[in-house]
Structure formats: structure tokens, C-alpha cells
Symmetry: C2
Subunit: 96 residues, 2 copies
């Protein structure tokens, strides 16, 4: 994970709505949730939410798949593990 990807991922997490989306998706698990349900759950308009979902996806923190008319979003565990790995390696005192 290079520094550009890392800053992008942190940028994705640095906003209230997006952090809530991610928490919700992590909580929900592999099954994921359609955009509409997330919108409803968080009280964020669909178009606003769409913007944030796109942001999270481009940062590699969530995945999307289509199921009929619905687009299902779910947490991307790989992406988050990569970020955690970076933090442990670069942002923590190795001696501590």
C-alpha cells in the first residue's frame, strides 16, 4: 500500500457520514446492504449517500455488487486489513 492509497483511505474515513456507513456495513457483515437501506438507516439523501459510497469504494474500503435492481454494498475486509497493517508498521512505536 503506497502513501497515496493510504492518504486516500484515511480521507475516506475522515468524514462522519462515511465512517458511519462503514461501521454499519461492518456490523452488517458479508451480506451487505442496498444503497437505499443505508440511506434510510442513516437518514442521508440517496444522492448524497451515493457520493460517499463512491468515495469509499474508490478507496478500497467497501465493495459493490448488483442484485437485480439493487446495488449491494459491503465492507471490504482486505482493504481495511491493508490499512491497519500500514498503521501498525508506520504509525506505531515498534519498540513499545
Amino acid at each position: 500500500m503506497d502513501i497515496e492509497e493510504v492518504t486516500k483511505a484515511f480521507g475516506a474515513l475522515s468524514q462522519d457520514t462515511r465512517l458511519k456507513v462503514l461501521s454499519l456495513l461492518v456490523e452488517t457483515g458479508t451480506g451487505g446492504l442496498p444503497a437505499g437501506d443505508i440511506s434510510l438507516a442513516l437518514g442521508v439523501p440517496q444522492n448524497t449517500l451515493s457520493f460517499h459510497l463512491s468515495h469509499l469504494e474508490h478507496s478500497g474500503l467497501i465493495n459493490r455488487r448488483r442484485a437485480g435492481r439493487f446495488i449491494i454494498y459491503s465492507a471490504n475486509n482486505e482493504g481495511m486489513k491493508n490499512l491497519l497493517r500500514y498503521m501498525v508498521e508506520n504509525c506505531c512505536d515498534k519498540a513499545a
Copy 2:
């Protein structure tokens, strides 16, 4: 760590210069570095750097102490551990 502190911390990490500052300070260890040395090491003007240092400090990721004319910055391990803890608890599939 509440959601506001968390977004603030991620915001602090979501910028190239600040991430580099933190990496440098982590690498340097408890001894820390004066602002001028960081400025020199990263090639960032002192006033610009001062802005970012302030940002990092308010986010609880670094500490400052004065030593004579110098102001010494160092990584705040506690702050980073708190952030890591939050991530593991809220951003990772507990089942995985």
C-alpha cells in the same frame, strides 16, 4: 474515543505532508525532533509545517514540548493506539 475524535484523527492522517511528519516522528522515537528539523527533512516551509503540526497535535497524534528556543515534536503513542483500537473494533469483521 467518540466518532468526532476519530474523524478528526483520520482527517489528520489524510494528507501527504502530515502522514510523512508522523512517519518521521515515529521513526525518530521518543526523543522527537524540533520543528525546524522536520521542516528541513521534508522540505516544507516552517509556517506551512506549523499549520500541519498544529493539526496533528489537536488530533492527539503528536506531542510538543519546549526545550530552550526549540519546540520538540514527538509521536503520541497513546493517541495512535486509541485510533487503532477503534478501527479494530468498528472497522474490521470480528468474525474474520
